[in-house]
């Protein structure tokens, strides 16, 4: 990339309006702006702090924003018109993997202890299953919170329940609560547990409000969490700017992951324009330090921002997410799964932006027979994620 090209983009394009939710994984957007990575690529980006995922979705759909920090499932839901007007959105850059966890309040945890022979029983949900059976069908179901219906949090929590033999729609109640309010709800006993990203699991442990049971990594392996999602109409018209932004975010992700930048990172993120908190509150989101009393996180479970494994969009993850949407009755049948996955999780632009060699083969694509059986096969467990996650693909089992 030479200066001429950058200058050309800068002078010929409108500022790009990018929404973000003040969570730790908006870091690459904030850093790309504050440390000049967007500027160096010749792009003028206006960051806009948003209050809810629904508003992000509506504003991108109706062109009040060009793109945003999005949950990895959001562009899929919007493109399929699930829970919203059908509005084509796409991503060519995954911002982060992992960081989720399931935490339960102290009261529920105390009830789980006598029903478990080992800590494995608690972490697998087996103790919770025993408790639910013991209480009987008349009892008020335990309430668990997620941050958004179309999210890894919802699907991972449901999968965790399901594996323990708990019906997520009948045996428990799942509600939506904004992440910043999760701990208050748990503290006041309005909910019994939640599935949310860091630092809300570690902070609950640190403050003695709850016990963390399991990380998202242990449920699904390494999992795409947030993406840079854009309106597809915008993407079509602004390819050069889009690619410049991918390069800037790529650099910002490397910066965010570098341990020597951590102090500065927390300083910038905690600013009132961004997360509006103290740097100390953010430490659990980034470092390997975890509060006392919390079980050891597997190293792979930490949030990761940089590297091709993380950043390159994975169309097979879109296939997986569509099957989760179908499994939990958010989505009716979709026939053109390959086409949707390819359109929404667009790999070409990522490779092109970063000057990688374009790969012609598309090993992730389903054969037409697989495509016709996919949704049901995943829903019934005949197809599962590889234990190490989507990066390794799927496992076909005879059930």
């Amino acid at each position: 990339m030479n200066m001429m090209d950058s200058q050309e983009i800068l002078t010929s394009s409108e500022p790009v309006r990018v929404g973000f939710i003040p969570l730790i994984d908006c870091a690459p957007f904030v850093i790309a702006k504050e440390k000049g990575f967007f500027f160096n690529e010749g792009v003028d980006v206006q960051l806009s702090k948003e209050a809810s995922w629904s508003s992000v979705r509506d504003k991108v759909a109706f062109n009040l924003l060009d793109g945003a920090h999005m949950l990895a499932s959001m562009p899929i839901a919007a493109s399929l018109g699930i829970g919203t007007i059908k509005a084509a959105m796409q991503t060519s850059f995954t911002v982060s993997h992992n960081g989720n966890g399931i935490t339960v309040g102290n009261a529920l945890y105390e009830q789980l202890l006598p029903l478990s022979e080992s800590s494995a029983d608690i972490r697998s949900g087996v103790a919770l299953k025993r408790l639910i059976e013991r209480r009987g069908a008349q009892a008020v179901p335990f309430r668990f919170a997620i941050v958004y219906p179309y999210s890894s949090h919802n699907y991972q929590l449901r999968d965790w329940f399901d594996r323990a033999g708990i019906d997520p729609d009948k045996d428990v109640q799942i509600i939506v609560i904004p992440p910043t309010q999760m701990m208050d709800y748990l503290k006041q006993g309005e909910i019994d547990g939640y599935c949310v990203g860091e630092p809300w699991n570690s902070l609950a442990v640190e403050q003695g409000i709850g016990h963390m049971l399991v990380t998202g990594y242990e449920i699904w392996g390494s999992t795409p969490e947030k993406v840079f999602g854009v309106n597809s109409v915008w993407a079509k018209k602004n390819q050069a700017v889009h690619m410049a932004m991918i390069r800037a975010l790529d650099k910002a992700c490397v910066w965010v992951d570098a341990p020597e930048n951590q102090t500065e990172l927390l300083q910038i993120l905690s600013h009132p324009d961004y997360l509006n908190c103290t740097p100390e509150q953010l430490i659990y989101g980034f470092s390997s330090i975890k509060p006392k009393g919390q079980f050891d996180w597997p190293m792979e479970a930490y949030q990761r921002f940089s590297g091709q494994e993380v950043n390159k969009p994975l169309p097979n993850y879109a296939l997986w997410v569509m099957a989760q949407m179908y499994r939990w009755q958010q989505l009716a049948k979709v026939s053109s799964l390959n086409a949707v996955a390819e359109q929404v999780y667009c790999q070409d632009l990522y490779d092109q932006a970063l000057g990688h060699e374009m790969v012609k083969e598309e090993p992730w694509k389903l054969s037409s027979l697989q495509e016709s059986q996919w949704l049901d096969a995943v829903s019934t467990g005949k197809i599962q994620l590889h234990p190490e996650g989507i990066l390794k693909g799927f496992e076909f089992r005879d059930v």
């Binding site: 995922w53 508003s55 009040l64 018109g81 829970g83």
Partner: protein
């Protein structure tokens, strides 16, 4: 047979801005709608919706509690769903206008789209009006603050340079022009430098 405007449409209003909520509620009542519940915070938003069964929920687009409503459409069929779901190709203008005005809405299935649009118009108008009032207030406030800053800087220059007010103003203005900065920014810089020097003494 053309139906009369649906006066029985029930509305729930969620807004943490009490002044605006009051204006919007009054306007809705004046137009013949029934506001059955007004919530300032959404602590028990989902319960309130289940309990009151409103035909429509109007909520500030900047409310972080909005996502709580997104899950409800799945729980039972009778619950309100995001209005963007009802925006058809040729008819998305009023939804876009709502989003721009900061209004988001959730509607139950089966409510006449004409009534929804009419009610949305009322909310949009009042939200806009409130926004205009607020920005006007903010402009006046910041103008006042600017004046104060400039006066203070002028005073300091007069004292330091032993000059009169027009001369101090001229110096301030020249500095702003030379540096292509706003007068208030220059004034702020002068004040902090002078205060720093004052402290040293």
């Amino acid at each position: 047979m053309s139906a009369p405007p649906n006066k029985e449409l029930t509305v729930m209003l969620v807004d943490n801005e009490p002044a605006r909520a009051a204006i919007v509620e009054q306007a809705m009542r004046d137009s013949g709608y029934r506001v059955i519940r007004r919530l300032e915070n959404a602590k028990n938003l989902t319960e309130a919706v289940t309990e009151c069964q409103p035909d429509m929920v109007i909520i500030d687009i900047e409310s972080p509690d909005r996502d709580m409503l997104e899950n409800m459409s799945r729980l039972t069929k009778d619950n309100p769903r995001p209005i963007v779901m009802f925006a058809e190709e040729d008819d998305s203008r009023h939804v876009e206008a709502a989003i721009r005005a900061g209004v988001s809405a959730y509607v139950v299935d089966g409510v006449q789209s004409g009534s929804v649009k009419a009610l949305l118009q009322v909310a949009i108008a009042r939200f806009r009006e409130f926004q205009a009032l607020r920005s006007e207030l903010e402009t006046v406030k910041s103008q006042l603050e600017d004046r104060k800053l400039i006066d203070k800087a002028k005073g300091l220059i007069m004292k330091h340079q032993q000059c009169d007010e027009p001369a101090a103003y001229k110096a301030l203005r020249k500095l702003a022009m030379d540096r292509s900065q706003r007068m208030t920014d220059v004034a702020r810089n002068i004040i902090s430098v002078m205060e720093l020097m004052g402290d040293r003494k």
